[in-house]
Subunit: 345 residues, 2 copies
DNA sequence: TTGTATGCGTTATCAC
DNA sequence: GTGATAACGCATACAA
């Protein structure tokens, strides 16, 4: 629908027998304007219930004070936390947030990015979708003179600001912990290898094995065990092996780890004594399963604030081009019962 | 920063020796334009990497194809699900979403709403914050000719479209279920009574007790037991009474119910035999606690799609005023172990 | 079918 | 200090 006619600065001007420019100056606190008339303008603006038309203002000023965010899933804990973190900062700065969801679909992601470009957002913040296969649309963002910040799942080859987790190190530490607890044969549930985060987690796993001179056994490295169901399915197979693993690192997510736990329990494997489990993400539920699940906290809200701060610190007002920079947030291994064999002895 | 100069319809026009209006018509598929020139325009637009300036377009057209959403917390399961539901529909329709978070603060909520008004959104979708004490800002929305839809937590006195859960009925059924299971003394953990949802849940509780001729015992009705911690604290007191309740309905949330469960277990009360528990919201974790927690599913994603559909069906194109209408979604009682005394016997 | 002219509501650059 | 005027980029009523 066409909204009804709103009050504009002309209406205020008319009332006070001044011109729109004076009103504009008074309202935006810009340029000289008599204190008395200013107060008068402010007063009548309030009386008439005037609301500035941000569209017109933005068009004129060539910037929108708006940041566009593209995430695979709005209602996934990690992402909604990051968004909350971003919001906390942008709100203080008077910036708006336009949120888009790619549904893990490359095509949709491209559309979202284009909409945001059309909207003239000042900056686009993105975590790429699982099936993304090229990054032309992101290059496009830069070409249009729009700031770009990638977080968590990033296109490494693109030279932009990035905020990531040190997935490799976290993964490495998790495996070291498991080995330290006496687990000898550690299976890996891995995610789509086109995503940097899963590649890194695998590298951390391999590096840890290497450190302890453990040979990699490809039969216990399972591709694409991303969801609870896939984690469960993988576990069923793993635990049916002639010599099953004595620990499983669900590097994809805690949901996957939950699948592992449920199947293991159902199959009569005692956790953590016969099977150690480690997940990833520190979902709320990992604390309350029995046994509780060892996992890795990603400080998702902090990632959001880091992203937003990065924009304001590095990109905010400068007209200069920016040197690519990566902020790495160190995740934290949260040791819980599901991997604590020693303390149980 | 000022974005660099972008390509406009004038640039395309110049290239092709036509006027901007022709280009505009060609691009927006509006009005007569020769098929050949149209193709030419489309082609050069692509070549020059033209992106329509939505700001200018919106300003001209007087509408933004944008819906503003205000929720207390972006990263709370229920709300992020609703948002995901809204997004699913609005995306199809080519609408954008601006998301704001009130942080449960009335002041911030007012600011968010005003920003959205300034942004000329076509519609504002809101679930009010816990400490809201008046609704002038919402009246304001209507006065500005902007559509308003309330969901879940609504200001009942405002005549707008609303999408709510039938909290009273759900609550009523939960209590009937508990009584049916043989629980005799059912405590209620209630939330802030300025929110309609908590008032209704209390009414449902009272109505069920009345139905079974059970007198209300005010000593086991606990105000403001909203979080896990408050739920835990309330439980400590309740279970220390001379004659403690044999069931607790955490009408505020599953988090509260979790607090109940943990304290009860710690104090040596057997759930469900000595103490029945029912939560609210069907959070993911309720399924995996031991025992699993009986709760109420609110179909949060559906609420979101219902809200969005309501906009497009009722408000979308009509210039007419709208008759207030309330859509009530029936929540579903999910019976689990924490309240299943009979089946355990 | 295309061009001309005008306006959406602001802000900025000039004069006065 | 204030006013006149142009411009941001696009869409449309009207004329040609």
């Amino acid at each position: 629908m066409k909204s009804k006619k709103r009050v504009t600065i002309y209406d205020i001007a008319q009332r006070l027998n001044v011109t729109a420019s004076t009103v504009s100056r008074a309202l935006s606190n810009n340029g000289y304007v008599n204190e008395a008339t200013k107060q008068l303008v402010l007063k009548t603006a309030a009386e008439l219930n005037y609301k500035r038309n941000t569209l017109a203002s933005n068009l004129r000023m060539g910037q929108t004070q708006t940041i566009g965010v593209v995430v695979p899933r709005i209602n996934q804990n990690f992402f909604s936390n990051v968004i909350a973190g971003i919001e906390a900062i942008t709100y203080q700065k008077g910036y708006n947030l336009i949120i888009c969801q790619s549904d893990e679909l490359h095509e949709k992601e491209v559309k979202c990015v284009n909409t945001l470009i059309n909207q003239h957002v000042d900056c686009i913040v993105i975590s790429v979708s699982a099936d993304s296969y090229n990054y032309d649309h992101l290059q496009n963002v830069l070409d249009q003179g729009i700031r770009l910040i990638q977080f968590d799942r990033v296109a490494e080859e693109l030279e932009t600001l990035k905020v990531i987790n040190d997935n490799e190190q976290a993964s490495f530490e998790a495996i070291c912990h498991l080995i330290g607890q006496g687990y000898k044969k550690i299976a890996l549930l891995e995610g789509p290898q086109n995503l940097n985060i899963f590649r890194q987690r695998k590298i951390g796993y391999l590096r840890a094995l290497e450190k302890f001179n453990i040979l990699v056994d490809e039969t216990i490295v399972v591709e694409n065990a991303w969801t609870k169901e896939l984690g469960a399915e993988a576990t069923r197979k793993l635990l049916s092996l002639r010599t099953p693993p004595d620990a499983i690192f669900a590097s994809t997510s805690d949901f996957s780890a939950l699948g592992v736990l449920e199947v293991a329990t159902a199959m009569g494997f005692k956790v953590p004594t016969q099977l150690g489990i480690c997940g990833y993400s520190n979902e709320a539920f990992t604390e309350i399963t029995s046994p509780s699940i060892t996992t890795i906290d990603q400080f998702s809200v902090n990632m959001g604030t880091a992203v937003a701060n990065l924009y304001f610190d590095e990109l905010g007002n400068k007209d200069t081009s920016v040197t690519p920079k990566t902020i790495s947030i160190k995740p934290e291994l949260i040791v819980r019962a599901s991997s604590s064999k020693k303390s149980q002895v």
